[in-house]
Amino acid sequence: MTIKTAIGALVDAKVRPFTIVFGAVAVLGLIDGGSGYFFSLGTLFSVMQLFATLGLVALGLGLSMLVREFDLSVAGIFSLAGCIAVITGVTHPWLGAVLGVAAGVASGFLQGVIMTRLGLSSVGVTLGGLLTLQGLTYVLSGNQTVSYPNMAVALGLNAPLAHLFSIRSAVALAVFALAALVMAFTHLGRDVIATGSDRRASRTAGLNTDRVLIAVFTASGALSALAGVLLSYSLGAASPVGLSDVLAPAAAAAIIGGVSVVGGRGNPAGIAAGVLTLCILRSGLSAIGVPPYVHDLVTGGILLCIAVLDAPELARHITAWRLNRAERRARALAKNPI
């Protein structure tokens, strides 16, 4: 196998996310240089904590991208569910959690129904949803941080298990495992990929694509809500979050994870790898002690690169450039034959 084919195999869309994760781990290891300072259990624990939050949102957003849509409202439901849980779950944390996730389910379901009944694209509907959800969050929270006095829950959620995980990250991993099973072994997974790959063809084949879309957006809402609930509980407070805190990293993670923005390609394992990559970078950078703005720069830079690499016309430009160059050479050769 030549170097070219080896690189080709590693960069192939299905394998790329895992290559990138290993790359990130390798970078962290290099920076560490064997001192065990960065490459420690402590760092890995913080990676998994980040994973718990970002991963669920990225999974939800990634699912919506699989069907060739884009759920802009994930940040909104993330904040709202957190607020609902914190406000209602003081004495009964389970109740708060259930209500928060239920809000996510309702919001995703409603948006899905609006989209399919009216034949609208997701961007407009989820934009309205985002604004509405953020508005609701402001109303509920009175535009202030709402504190969650139930310390036991907060500590319990964050207590390290086996040095590496916490209940939060264990839940996130379990959800990912469930998603991976559903996508791989049930026909729901195939239906999602089919809908994203060619919606018209799937509909003609007899698939109820409306139901698939509604299910995907409901799942996205539920996942983001769960992430918001868990984070608010563990921080002991809830407040409205900004876009760059949630949407940008989630989109970057999903795309690094091999999800294509035009749909039909991607899977939960890849998304998990993408999320891990971002979390490793973040934790690693924090451990080195860089100022917080570097996170934004790195996330933005990665997202930009991948958005361009994934862009449909990039291949066309490269091909055109190659063909033009070949033709120029041929013309030059014709003028000056050797």
Binding site: G119, G124, G128, G129, L130, L297, A307, H317
Partner: protein
Amino acid sequence: MTEIALRTRFEQHRARMRHVALWIRLAAAAAIAAFALTTPGFLTPLSLNALFTAISFVGCVAVGMTFITLTGNIMSLALGATVSASALAFLAMLSFGILPAFLLTVLFAAIITGLQGFLVGHFRANPILVSIAALSLLLGGAAFVTGGHRIYPAGEGLAIFKGRILGIPKEALCFFATVLAGQLILSWTRVGRMMSMVGSNVRAATAAGIDAAAVITMAYVIAGACAAVSGVLLAARYGSGDMEIGAGYDYTAIAAVLVGGTGITGGSGSTLRTLVGTIVIAIIEVVLLLRGFSEQLQYLITGLIVLVVIMLHAAGEKR
């Protein structure tokens, strides 16, 4: 050989539907006007001032957003941050004099946004993703450059932006000028016409010989310039700036664009319509404030309005 001049029943039906849509719009506008005029304190100088303020800063961004939406690129989530960055740049460059600082700021924002347009136009990269990436880069970059400190004017002369002409605040006049300039570009120039064609169907535009990539880049450049105008006005108004100034402007801007009647799928729209949308939203905000609704509820209601408008617009286009 010409066809008979009778319009088919179908075309008459469609024309009638469009009349109905127009009447609904007029009725809604009348309802809002009534709502506003019956609110105590609406016609006072204080509330009218608030109105002008509300429309001027966000309005410029909305005009820029119109160009992005019109060319079929849905929206940009980075314009708000571009406004803040422009304000900071303007304040920092005031030592060169007002006019040079203004022009440099416009150039600065035009380049930042134009680069996004280049990627979206030439490579058809997803516009939302590119804008999200640009947002992160702008926030990170600004934090790097400013170290998180507020920026204060490096020179004199901000007072020129304050005051009124004929009773209307200068900022509002700047906004109206921007709207007018934008509308002239859209209706009277070749570039503007090409933008509407690219937004309507980019493949058809390419087949008709239009350089869609250049047109889209131009739309983004104009959007950046509009964001710069807003940033300059904000910097002049508040005398200092940080990256929080323009936060949230993207949402209100796209809401204004959609409420005004520009479709989110692109192709049809105008800055005059965006002007109407901006005014409508501002009136609703001011009226809600006067009637005692909290700022949070205003936000919520704006969101619901956007949702409803998008749904109505789509329902109207269905056949």
